[in-house]
Structure formats: C-alpha cells, structure tokens
C-alpha cells in the first residue's frame, strides 16, 4: 500500500512539478517551528495589511479565499457559524489563519447575508447543478482511487496538509465542490499541489465526482442540520440583519486587506489599525503579551471612530505571542509619572466630569463616550511616556487619531497625566454592536471628526450621542443655528463647547484643524441648517 502511494506521488510530482511541491512542504515545515523569524510570522498573519508601520503581507492575499463568489462557494449555514467562531480550515497555509472578529449572531448573520450575494465566479466558470446522492462508495474513490487523503483528512484517514474533507459539504456548496474538483486551477493558487484528475467532457469523471460529493454530503448531513437550525434561530432573532448592513460590516472590518472581493471599494486607503512602529514606546510588554493572547476590545467602534473596525483574535499560541511580543519589544520609555494622592484623583475626576472634554470620547469607570479607547485601564495599557505625550502632543504620537490637543490649565496637566497612569482596572470594554451602530466610512472630513456625536446630517444623533449626558447640538435646527453668528460657531469649534456654555464634552479642535478647515465646518453647518447667520453678525 505504501509503495503504491509512493508511486502515485512520484507520478503526480513529476506531472505538477516536484520541485515546487517539495519546496512548499519545506517552507510549511519551517514556518511551523517556534524559531520562526518574526517577520515571517508577521507576514503570514498579515499584520501589515491593517496596521501601518509594518510591511504589507506578500502572501496573505494568496492564502485568504477570494470572496467574490462566496455566495456560490460556501453554505450559508457554515458561513454564519464560521463567522461567529472561525477555526483553521486549511492546514497548508502555514501560520496564516482566519481570525475571530467576535461577531454577534446579528452581525454574523448580516455578514453572511452579504457574502451570499457575492456570486462572481472566476472568468469562464459556471456551476452546474449537482444531484449527488448520499452513498458509501465515495470514500473508496477519495481515499483509494484518487488518493485525496495524501493531503486531506477524511474520517480520521489521511494527512492534515490541507482541508479536512469530513466537513467539506458542511462548508461548501456541492455545485462549487464539483467545479473545484473538475477545474482546481480556476480556484486554487498556482502553487497549490491539488491535482486535476478530471475532464469536463468525460461522463465517467462526472459520475466519480458526483459519487465523491454524494459521500461527502452524507458525512456532513447531521452537522448541516444542526447549523441550519442555528441559522434559522438567528434569523428569527435578528430581523434587522440584512445584506446591506452585512456589506458595511464587511467593509468596516477591512476584510479586503486579506480577501479579494471584486466590485467593492475599500473604506480604508491604506490601513485601519495603529502604527506598530511606536509600539515599543507605547505599551508595556506585560500588557502586550496578555493582549495578544486575549485581544480584548480597545476602540469600541473602530480605529477610525465610526468605522467599527476591530482587532480580531488570532488565537495565537504562546510561542507565537512570544515571537510577536519580542518583535514589537517591551516598553523602554524612561518616563515615570509621579503618583498622586486620592484627593488629587478626586479633583481630576471632578474636572473630567465637569470641565474637560476627555470623557466625551473616552469611557472611564463606566461613564463616557465610545469614540476612543477606554481610560479605565489606560495605565496598564500604555506607558507613562506615551500617556504624557498623548495628552500633550497627540498629533505627534498619534498622527492618525482624531484626538485633538486640549489646552488646559498647566497645573492640571500633570495631575491628569498621573491620574491616567494610575488607571489600571481590567475594565469590561465591549465593541459596539454593528447592527445597532451601523459602521460607516470616514473619508469625509466632517464625518471623520464630527459625525460620531453630531450624526451624518448634523442632527445630533451620532453613535456616541447616547453615551453622553447632554445631547450633542442639533446642527439642523434652523432657529437655533440661525441665531448664531458664524464667528460663534467658529469659536465653538475652535475652543470647544464649554466656552459657549454647551457641553464641555465637545473638545476644541483649534489645535488640530486649520482655520480654513474650521471655516469649512461652519459652512457645513450652514448647509445642515439651511440657514444664514443673523443679520447683525454680518460684519
């Protein structure tokens, strides 16, 4: 038996390029070891496809499935299940994997519904309707005749060098499996060793494929029933989920950073996650290690607030975490903020509650906005040096953040910095539900900086509004806005809400935006309210 298999292997290797296959196995073996070069692991995980400061992955786009035809490739029931808790399906892609985005049932359902609409098959491919019946003979064909188990596993047979065929019919639609077996080169990467045994015009081949698919369907039957039931329940529980929302979720998570998806633009020009260059200065190594293990939410509604993007959980092994942690380095910031006393903390809390804008965007002890990261654990998450700089010069250390620099009493600044450095609660930060808080692209400047509170059309109902004690200003209010001079609006945007006796949670943007940009915002408000400033303010 062993000799037979070896002979076939040699024959196949000669046919499809022995050298290429050998190289593939050597690379796969090498990458699986703990002493993997960090850059290789980063490349395989595709970190640079979302994060800036890291090279974009050369290989991840080849390894992640093309989702352009996900709707004809995958079973809806499987997609829903998989999106909720992804597991590694293909064993031949090294350390690459589909990470877990922590989708809720509704989010997963919407995304599934969207993916099911994607049916753009590769050029010149059409799918035939397969009428494969459940059978037992398919196993012999798969295992013995065509030796698929040389790479695939099936019913505990074979080798885990590719996907497990046991649940192939759980994952994949029969029509597409048929086309894949018939014409693998249309779907798998060029370097894939998957052989092409069959001819499109050969009836015997068609029968064999049907038999194999029939067998696989039989194996998957009970699991499919179970998943189908789950999906049905989810649909009932989430009537608001739709393919349209699913599309937004797809775009919000920057799925195209890894997957191909024809016919869709990308919300993010280059990336949608923090620059990792400064990680060495930014986060203490102890926190980073724990973070890579559990990947708890940090930004409740996206790196660019409102986009809803998340850092997914890669379920990294301890060895991988060690590699990545070493790669990013431990904190070497020498800055140590002095401790402050409880009464000073109380003072800072009163200032945060009543004067400073911070909690308009950040959560602290269960109160505050959901635009930026929580402050409850900021002392654990960030180094003292970074906390100091993030407040004093946010544009320098976080150039992509919308966080404006807040001018404040110089005697308050060190207290605030020390106070934050002492916030080490574990917190319980949750991502905002993307069905209830529909994500959006922030390419428009107003939307980027203002829509989180003031809403898309300025009516004050942005996703963050419900977390604020005072409703953000309704910029569409013709009467109210008509009573305000342009200069008043300019001043409010420049210096913040507090000076206008409005909410102190509205920060001043003058240290971040140019005067021209602020003037543009004033004009944008005039568009929203369809009103002119009062006559007396014309000069």
């Amino acid at each position: 038996m062993k000799n037979m298999r070896t002979k076939i292997l040699i024959r196949n290797s000669i046919c499809y390029g022995f050298r290429r296959i050998f190289l593939f196995f050597i690379i796969s073996f090498t990458l699986g070891q703990n002493n993997l070069p960090p850059n290789e692991l980063v490349n395989e995980l595709g970190c640079g496809n979302c994060h800036s400061g890291v090279d974009q992955s050369e290989i991840i786009n080849n390894r992640a499935p093309d989702l352009s035809y996900a709707g004809v490739r995958y079973n809806e029931t499987f997609l829903f299940d998989y999106l909720k808790s992804s597991q590694k399906v293909r064993q031949h892609i090294g350390n690459s994997r589909m990470p877990d985005f922590g989708f809720s049932d509704g989010e997963a359902l919407a995304l599934t519904q969207y993916l099911m609409t994607r049916q753009a098959l590769p050029k010149n491919r059409t799918l035939s309707k397969v009428k494969a019946k459940k059978n037992a003979e398919g196993l012999a064909l798969i295992h013995n005749e065509f030796q698929c188990t040389v790479c695939h596993t099936l019913n505990e047979l074979g080798q885990a060098k590719s996907t497990d065929l046991t649940d192939a019919a759980v994952r994949l639609q029969p029509d597409w499996i048929y086309d894949l077996i018939l014409k693998p080169s249309a779907y798998v990467p060029r370097e894939s060793p998957m052989p092409s045994f069959f001819s499109e015009d050969n009836k015997a081949d068609k029968k064999n494929i049907d038999t194999m698919i029939g067998y696989l369907k039989g194996v998957a039957e009970s699991k499919n029933e179970s998943l189908s039931s789950n999906l049905k329940q989810a649909k009932k529980a989430n009537p608001g989920a739709s393919a349209t929302i699913g599309r937004d979720i797809f775009l919000s998570q920057n799925c195209q950073a890894c997957h191909s998806m024809s016919g869709e633009d990308n919300w993010f020009d280059t990336h949608n996650a923090p620059n990792l260059t400064h990680q060495r200065m930014k986060t203490p190594s102890a926190w980073l290690t724990q973070y890579l293990k559990e990947t708890p939410p940090i930004r409740p509604n996206g790196f660019f607030p409102g986009t809803g993007s998340r850092m997914p959980n890669y379920h990294l092994t301890d060895a991988e975490i060690e590699i990545l942690s070493n790669w990013m380095g431990g904190a070497v910031s020498k800055t140590k903020l002095p401790d402050i006393y409880d009464f000073q903390s109380n003072k800072v809390e009163r200032l945060l509650n009543d004067f400073l804008p911070c909690l308009g965007c950040h959560e602290l002890n269960g109160q505050g906005g959901k635009i930026g990261p929580s402050l409850s654990n900021v002392g654990k998450r960030l180094t003292d040096g970074f906390i100091k700089m993030a407040i004093e010069m946010p544009h320098m250390v976080m150039p992509e953040s919308i966080m404006p620099k807040t001018k404040m009493d110089p005697t308050i600044l060190p207290l605030l910095q020390s106070y934050l450095a002492q916030r080490t609660s574990n917190g319980n930060i949750q991502y905002l539900n993307l069905l209830e808080n529909r994500p959006y692209s922030t390419k428009n400047k107003y939307i980027e900086n203002c829509a989180a509170c003031h809403g898309f059309n300025g009516s004050g109902n942005g996703f963050n509004a419900k977390f604020l004690p005072t409703k953000p200003g309704d910029l569409t209010d013709k009467k109210l806005m008509g009573e305000r001079a342009d200069d008043t609006l300019f001043d409010t945007i420049y210096v913040g809400g507090r000076i206008m006796n409005k909410s102190h949670f509205m920060p001043g943007w003058g240290e971040k935006l140019s005067r021209e940009e602020i003037v543009n915002y004033v004009n944008q408000i005039r568009t929203f309210c369809e009103c002119d400033p009062p006559d007396w303010s014309n000069n």
Binding site: L351, D354, R498, N538
Partner: protein, 735 residues
C-alpha cells in the same frame, strides 16, 4: 513702649478670632509651608496688600501734621510714636481725636484707587473715619451725604457734608447699624457680645487672605499634619478649580458685588446663598441700567449680565489670576496685563488672526484692544466726576453709542475720540457694523418701562420666563414688583408669576412668590401654590422664605417712604408671616405702627421682638420708646434700662431715658443721660435739644445756647429747637 502695647492689643484683637467664632480659620501663613508658590504669588497681589495696620509702607496719605481747613472746621492728620491720628474740629463742637487702627486700600486700582482709615470706638466697633485719601490726585477727599459724590478737601466743603461725620459706619456686617459689610478684611465679624455689653470686631487680616476664597483651613491643616498618605481623598478643603460657573463667580461675589444680607453670620466656606442675595439690590436703589451696566455705583458682579457669562462659561478667574491678581487667559496662561487681548481671544479665536477686520483700527492701537470697546472704564456716577473712580464695564457690552447717549453715558469710542460727536460716532458704527446685536427682549422692555411705559402691559412685558437668563429676569421682575401698579392683578400676570415661582434661581423664586402673595386675594389657587412651592423647595425652603419675606419688606419700606403707611404695614405683616424671624421686617413693622400712632400694636410688636431675643438691645430701646409714647413712662424706663444693661453704649436708650427724666423734671439725671447720648452719637439732634432744655431749666443759659446750636447745626429745621433758640435769645437778652 506705647507703640508696642498698642500693637499687642491690635494683634490680640486679630488673634482673638482664632479662639472665637471664627476659630476654623488659620491665616495665610499656615498655607505658606505647603503652598509656597501660591503664597509668594499672593503676597505680591493687591489682595494681600488691600489693607492692614497703619505703618510707613502702607499709609499713602501725608500724616504730616498740617492743618487742613474746611468750610466750618479743620482736621489734622498726624503721626506720633509710629501711630497715626486725626484731630478734627467743627465750629461750635468739641475737638475730637481719632486714632487710625486700620488702613484699607492701597490706591491699586487702575480706574482710581483710594485709601480709607478706620478707628476703634468705645462700643467696640471699628468705624470708617471721615477722611479718605486719593493717591491719584494726591488729595484728601470726602464722601458726601448730599449726592455730591466724592469731593476733595477744600474750604468750600462743610464737615456737615461728610457722610462719615461723625463716624458711624462700622466694619463688619450688622443688621442694626450702617456698615461696610465684611470685605475690607478677612474673616471679618463684628458682633455684639452681651456678656461684655459691647461689640467685638474679629478678623484674621485686614487684607484679603487665602481663606477669604478657600474657606476655613483648620481641618485641612489638621488632616495634612497627619500625613498625606492616610488621607483618602478628603483634604478638608474644597478645590476651587472644580467649582461650577455659578459657584466660581460667587466666590468673588462675596465682595465684588452689591449684595443684600438675608441673615447675619456669614463666613467664607459657608453657603453663600443662605446669607446673601446678589440680585436683591435691584429691588432697592436701581443700581444697574437695564442692560446690567452700573448706573450709580457697583462692583464687578454685574458680569452675570454679560453674554460671556450667560451664553458662555466665563468666570472671573478666566481673566483674573486669583493668587497674583494679575491677568490670564481661559487656559490660565499669564497675560501681560489688563488690556491684553488674550483675555478675549483665547475664546474668541475668530477675531484673533485679523483683529483689524473686526475693530477697523490698527492692530497695535488702543482701538484694537478688546477692552477699549467692550469693557470701557466708566466713572461711577454716585462718586461724581471730580475724582477718578472708573471701573471697567464687566457686562462686556457691545458699544451702542446711541443708547449710551440716552443713558447719559460716555460711550466707549469717546474715551479716545473725545472730539467726535455722538452722532458722528453713531454713523461710523452704522457704516462699519450695520445692525447691532439687539438687546435681550427683557432689557428692551425695561428700557421702555423706565422711559415711561408704566402701563399694566408695560409691567407684564417685564416678566420673563424660566428660559430667559436669570439676571435679566430678576431685573424685570424686581422693577415690576416694586412698581406702583404691582398690586393690580391680571390673569396673564398671575400665570407668568406662577411660572417664575418654579425658576431654578432662588432670588427669582422668592420674589415671584412674594409678588403672588400680593395678589393672593384675587386668585384662590395662589395660596395653595405658594404652600406647595415651599414644600417642593426641600432644603431650599429656608432660602426661599428669607427672600420672599425680604422682598415684601423692601416693598413695605418703599410704600412707607412714599407716605402709604397702611399698605406698608400690610406688606410688613405678610413679610413677618412668611419668616417670623425677619428682624428687619419686624422692626420696620413696629416703626410703621409708631408712624400711624398705633401705639398698642407698636408696643406689642416690640414686645414680640424682645421676647424672641431678650438680648436685642435695639428692640428694648424701641419698646421703651413705644411705651413712652403710649404714656407708660414707668415701664418705658425699665425697657430703656434693660437696653442699657445689655449695651452700655446705646445712645438711643440714653436719649430715651434722658427724655423721660426731663419730662419727670429729674434734671440732673436727665442731663447725665442726654450728655452720654450725644457723646456716643454726636449726630443725635434730639439729644442736644433735650439737653439744652435741661440746661435752660437749670438756668445754665449760655451752655444751653451752645448745646442747642449744636443740635440745630445738625438739623437747622428742627421745629422745637428753633422755638427754643428764639426763647433762649430773649432770656439771654433779658439780664
């Protein structure tokens, strides 16, 4: 040696506060150890230099022993053994001598600072001496009592025109005496001590110290002495940085405001609103123009009328550094000075880049200083125009030259462009700015009312709503409440007042309820509403009662001044009903009964006063007077004596007893009391008249003539005095 003894006694006076009522205060030196930066900054501030004991460094006036002659007398400021004195003499009166024990003011204020002097009097009060100094003009000057304002010393001004001749205004807040309130010192309390039969004046400093703003520091110091590590979030003192806008302004309004005392006993750190109202002054002398600007005399608390306060977050410390008294921007960055545009442009950034586009003046010119147009220095009219006492307009007004002309104010432009006519300024403003921002509708209504629209409709337009800004609402409400037509009911008026009775502002609620109280007979639902309003007030009930009652007392006083005693009594009765301990209303009511010769009720009311507070020497004296007029001479003397037992220095009681003894022809005893009365209060006309009467009866005619002349100098129109003078002249001519 004398000097040392004197200083010890003064220090003892100051330190006594540490062991008296105000023993929670520790003084600024206690702060210096832990807060050296703030302390050293404060030490150089005008607050720290606001006053103190007299010494070479502090006293600005020339105490050079030179006689300064005035119309009917002279005074000499002089120095001896390091101590400072005044000698003064009015023609026909004895020479007097006052020692200066306290100095207030250092001429610091840009718009014209002054320096005043205080002396210690036998009854324990520290009183403002009549002679003030204006360092800017380098002249002695006097506050006049005939609406002439402040006038420099000259031979054309009479001592009788001095408002403080003889000295009567005490340092510290008192209900029963004219006083300077508590602002010319720190933790200043003047109170009557029954055990000692006199007043005691306590203070920590005559400057403005740390605890004037921060409140008592004793607990804080004790806690910090334990060690910071064990203090769990409580320091025993509240950071003022975390004050709300209203609370922050109230810290400064402790002094920088026209404020009405509602009840005595306030010290920094206490609930300010329980003791004072900063709006009730609008019920009285109409201190502000309808837009909040100072009409006659005021402080900076009218800032609450400003758009920056009402529609912004601006507090005093957004421009003024409370420690250095220098200037800063909204982010607490120090500024060059009072004219630095950073005070405004740190908020109004739209004006910052191209100031000329807004001002039409060159960038570095005075015309491009925000304060030139929006906070012009206005001479306070009650002071007159002779001596400079101009204060920056803290309503941060928009220049409206046309309006200023109507109000008789020098407009901001004319402060520089002195040669331009108002009309040309109005025209230029029109060219540059077009329509000006309209005044608030309540301000406009008040203008119209003051210009003569005193109809019922005009009154109604003064009443705002709970959505309107509180200062403007109160100004209109106060004007309506004090108007002649206030008691005329209308359904619309009652609806508006009911609405205002739910206002967040306690002053507005109090006056709205008082106003409804006037109309209670016209709407049967008012009674229930007012009761419910008090129930709903919860912890604020007492504050509302005091305001409600005080407002009614204000109106009662106005009615009585206007000759309408019976309605005035009715108002006082309402006032006392809502707050039975309102001593102002009770005394007013008793005096009103006297004015209508209802002696039974006057006696009864005074009786109630002394029953509720047996140590009320003023009440006992009033009771004596009422009983005396009621023909109950024996018990009247007892009441007067009781008053004197409590306060030996009570001139009224001496006068009353002297008068009764004079009637009983007990001339020797009468003469003693009457002499004591005029000694304690040299301005007591009746005392001189009765004493002259005694002397006539004792055939001491020359002496009688001298004393009588003193009385008539105080009141030349005294009828009995004039008759006596004629009679006496006849007697003296007939040997």
């Amino acid at each position: 040696m004398n000097c040392i003894r004197w200083r010890i006694s003064i220090l003892a006076l100051g330190w006594s506060c540490l062991f008296g009522q105000s023993n929670q205060f520790v003084g600024s030196d206690a702060c210096a150890t832990c807060h050296p930066d703030q302390f050293s900054t404060w030490q150089n501030s005008t607050h720290a230099k606001a006053g103190g004991f007299p010494d070479e460094k502090r006293v600005l006036a020339p105490f050079d022993g030179k006689k300064i002659t005035v119309k009917n007398g002279w005074f000499i400021p002089y120095k001896k053994d390091g101590r400072y004195f005044f000698r003064a003499k009015e023609t026909g009166f004895k020479e007097v001598k006052y020692e200066v024990i306290g100095v207030v003011g250092g001429g610091h204020l840009y718009g014209g600072g002054t320096q005043t002097y205080f002396g210690l009097f036998p009854d324990g009060t520290m009183r403002l001496l009549p002679f003030d100094y204006h360092p800017g003009k380098q002249t002695w000057f006097f506050e006049t009592n005939d609406l002439s304002g402040w006038l420099p010393a000259s031979e054309s001004i009479s001592l009788r025109q001095f408002s403080e001749w003889p000295p009567s205004r005490s340092l510290g807040l008192l209900t029963e005496k004219k006083n300077c309130q508590q602002c010319h010192g720190s933790q200043l309390i003047t109170e009557f001590q029954p055990a000692k039969g006199k007043y005691e004046t306590h203070f920590t400093d005559l400057s403005i110290n740390c605890e004037s703003c921060h409140g008592p520091g004793e607990t804080h110091v004790s806690l910090m002495d334990y060690g910071e590590n064990i203090i769990k979030g409580y320091t025993g003192i509240q950071s003022l940085k975390t004050n709300t806008k209203e609370a922050s302004v109230n810290v400064c309004a402790q002094c920088h405001a026209l404020k009405d005392m509602l009840r005595p006993g306030y010290l920094p750190g206490m609930d300010f609103e329980s003791y004072f109202s900063t709006k009730f002054a609008m019920l009285g002398g109409n201190p502000y123009f309808p837009d909040g600007r100072v009409r006659a005399f005021g402080y900076q608390q009218n800032h609450v009328f400003s758009d920056c306060y009402l529609n912004g977050s601006m507090t005093c410390v957004d421009c003024h550094n409370p420690h250095s008294n220098g200037y800063q921007d909204v982010n607490r960055n120090p500024l060059k000075g009072r004219f630095d545009n950073g005070q405004c442009t740190s908020c109004h950034m739209s004006k910052n880049e191209n100031i000329t586009a807004h001002t039409f003046h060159k960038p570095e010119s005075k015309g491009s200083q925000c304060t030139s147009c929006h906070m012009p220095f206005q001479q306070h009219q009650a002071v007159g125009n002779v001596l400079k006492f101009a204060r920056a307009d803290h309503t941060i007004s928009i220049p409206r030259p046309g309006l200023d002309k109507q109000l008789g104010l020098k407009n901001a432009c004319q402060q520089c462009h002195v040669d331009m006519s108002t009309q040309s300024i109005v025209d230029q403003v029109e060219i540059w700015y077009g329509d000006l921002k309209p005044l608030h509708n309540l301000e406009t209504a008040l203008f119209h009312y003051e210009k003569g629209n005193m109809t019922q409709e005009g009154i109604l337009s003064l009443i705002g709503s709970n959505k309107d800004p509180a200062p403007q609402v109160f100004a209109g409400l106060a004007k309506a409440f004090m108007s002649e037509g206030a008691s005329n009911p209308s359904e619309a008026l009652i609806v508006k007042l009911k609405h205002l009775s739910e206002n967040k502002d306690l002053d507005i609620r109090g006056v709205a309820l008082a106003y409804l109280d006037l109309l209670i007979d016209y709407d049967e639902t008012i009674g229930l509403l007012t009761i419910q309003s008090l129930v709903n007030a919860g912890r604020d009930q007492s504050k509302i009662r005091t305001r409600w009652s005080t407002a009614l007392a204000y109106r009662a006083e106005q009615l009585i001044r206007g000759g309408m005693a019976i309605p005035g009594i009715h108002h006082y009765q309402k006032s006392v009903k809502i707050w039975p301990n309102n001593i102002r209303a009770k005394l007013g009511l008793a005096e009103a009964y006297l004015s209508v010769d209802d002696m039974d009720k006057a006696v009864k009311t005074y009786g109630e006063i002394v029953q509720s507070n047996p140590m009320d020497w003023q009440g006992w004296a009033g009771l004596g007077y009422a009983q005396s007029r009621n023909g109950q001479r024996d018990i009247a003397i007892e009441a007067y004596m009781r008053s004197l037992e409590i306060n030996t220095f009570n001139p009224t009681a001496h006068l009353g007893i002297g008068h009764l003894l004079f009637q009983l022809k007990k001339d020797m005893l009468a003469a003693n009391h009457l002499a004591k009365a005029v000694e304690l209060d040299p301005a007591l006309t009746e005392g001189y008249i009765y004493l002259a009467g005694v002397k006539i009866r004792q055939q001491q005619l020359k002496e009688a003539a001298i004393i009588l002349n003193r009385g008539l100098a105080l009141n030349p129109n005294h009828e009995i005095g004039a008759i006596m003078k004629n009679e006496l002249a006849r007697f003296i001519q007939q040997p």
